[in-house]
């Protein structure tokens, strides 16, 4: 009989978003992951774990009043109730691999496959799923942008990959060298963490997040041109273990905000590069190497103004 039953809600997962493991396991009806599957640092996961523990306690104390269907099992327990052929590995849930069933009862901390994936993901550049051209500059989706033209991309397991955006790499031009911090070095958001060199001149690059460097892209030391060729993939700078990620991300540009920021920066760049005449133009994407078009003194002035470094 139509209209009598419970209305089945549409559980649409927006493009680019992923289901929380609690939703994936069927414990909650709808929840998207907002912590890049870094469950140990996830506030929601902690709250749910606590809620399930309390529910279990109340069931023991007053079994009649307890609600048998509500939060009586964690997502791991729910997953383990499924037949073995349906227990997706977390890297399958996150889309990192095509098909893989959990071989270790969701104890990722002791899983050798998890360790292998962690190492592989850290050493390999992450592919950009989509990007758009904003005012002639490439803005990659899913990246957070700092006003100093660096990007931060939270990855699975709570790490953050950082690098230089397309605007900065065009402005700086062909790099002759990169200065990297050592592993274990502590970075502060908005403070110089890296350095770039070109034609004997250098400029500081601000870190987009607070954290400790756990890995650097050592290929850049011999091949700094990778930053020019592929700023969002091969040209990443470092992987950071963040210390204040949630707070840091609030201070970065994301999505539409990043597009507006890039557009405004292009206008500012055009205006500063032509401040002798105060001109405005219609049309035109940026040349690949803006620095080639600038005089040396102008280069330093513009690089410092846009990278916001001292």
């Amino acid at each position: 009989m139509p209209g009598k039953g419970k209305v089945q809600s549409m559980k649409i997962v927006p493009p680019g978003k992923k289901k929380c493991v609690w939703m994936e396991a069927g414990v909650v009806s709808y929840k998207l992951c907002d912590n890049n599957y870094d469950c140990p640092t996830c506030v929601y996961d902690h709250a749910m774990q606590t809620k399930v523990a309390r529910q279990k306690e109340s069931m023991v104390a007053k079994p009649a009043e307890a609600q048998p269907d509500k939060f009586t099992a964690t997502w791991v327990e729910k997953m383990m109730m499924l037949p073995a052929s349906s227990r997706k590995c977390r890297y399958m849930i996150t889309g990192e691999i095509g098909r893989k069933l959990c071989p270790n009862a969701y104890e990722c901390g002791t899983c050798s496959f998890d360790r292998m994936m962690q190492q592989r993901l850290q050493s390999e550049p992450m592919a950009v799923s989509a990007s758009v051209q904003v005012a002639g500059f490439e803005v990659a989706d899913g990246f957070y942008y700092h006003e100093g033209h660096t990007w931060a991309r939270p990855e699975y397991g709570g790490r953050v990959r950082v690098g230089l955006d397309d605007f900065a790499r065009r402005l700086i031009g062909k790099l002759s060298g990169i200065e990297m911090p050592g592993i274990g070095h502590e970075l502060k958001q908005g403070e110089a963490g890296f350095g770039v060199r070109r034609n004997g001149k250098s400029a500081g690059i601000l870190s987009p997040v607070d954290g400790v460097v756990t890995r650097i892209n050592d290929r850049l030391l011999d091949h700094p041109e990778l930053v020019n060729a592929s700023p969002y993939e091969e040209g990443w700078f470092a992987i950071v273990e963040p210390t204040r990620l949630r707070k840091n991300l609030k201070d970065l540009y994301y999505g539409e905000e990043a597009h507006t920021f890039t557009s405004e920066e292009k206008e500012r760049l055009f205006s500063m590069a032509n401040d002798d005449l105060n001109i405005a133009a219609d049309g035109g994407i940026s040349v690949e190497d803006i620095s080639e078009e600038l005089e040396e003194t102008q280069w330093l002035r513009l690089v410092k103004a846009f990278l916001r470094s001292k």
Partner: protein
């Protein structure tokens, strides 16, 4: 210059001229287009030489900033001077421009080179070509009167990065830019002055 004050607004017009050999129908279209939308009379100035002085051999294009500086040396008694050329223009940090103007300055410049559908491998389309020219001319006229870029994608003052942006926007101003355009134009009407280049 003082003697120009109080001169009837009737004589103040928008001037259009070709740089290098230009199709006269294009020049007339530009003149009529900006004249209709600004309710100002227009004057067509005799063609100037092709701007060979601004050719950049490395890029194979013409430096629009150099041309604009040269145009600013040209004295005129019009509200604004809009030059139209068919050579490919650039400014140093951009690969190309459809047009360029000094914000609040006496001159503006547009190029028809990248406005032709043929440039993008499409069939010739005169109406589309003329529509693009009209939008670019209004955009640069807006700049030269003092308007800056607008965030409204449909407003003619929206900054076109690519030709698709030009096709998407309308040939008119959004209400805010229209108000600004009228305000700036009105200032020019009541404060006429002969433009004499400053050396």
């Amino acid at each position: 210059m003082e003697s120009q004050r109080g001169r009837p607004a009737l004589f103040r017009s928008l001037a259009v001229c070709g740089l290098g050999a230009m199709d006269s129908t294009v020049i007339r279209h530009v003149a009529e287009h900006i004249s209709t939308r600004s309710c100002m009379p227009y004057t067509i100035i005799p063609e100037m030489d092709i701007p060979a002085y601004a050719f950049d051999e490395k890029r194979g294009q013409y430096n629009s900033k150099v041309i604009l500086k040269r145009l600013m040396q040209f004295p005129h008694d019009c509200i604004r001077l809009l030059a139209v050329t068919q050579v490919d223009l650039f400014v140093p940090i951009l690969k190309y421009v459809f047009g360029l103007a000094q914000v609040g300055g006496p001159c503006a410049l547009i190029s028809t080179y990248r406005l032709r559908p043929e440039f993008y491998g499409h069939d010739p389309d005169r109406d589309l070509f003329m529509a693009r020219i009209g939008k670019t001319a209004m955009h640069e006229l807006g700049h030269s009167l003092g308007l800056t870029h607008c965030r409204n994608r449909r407003c003619v003052m929206y900054s076109s990065t690519r030709i698709n942006d030009t096709d998407l926007k309308r040939s008119d101003f959004c209400p805010t830019c229209f108000e600004l355009f009228r305000w700036h134009l009105e200032k020019c009407r009541v404060e006429p002055n002969l433009y004499v280049p400053q050396n």
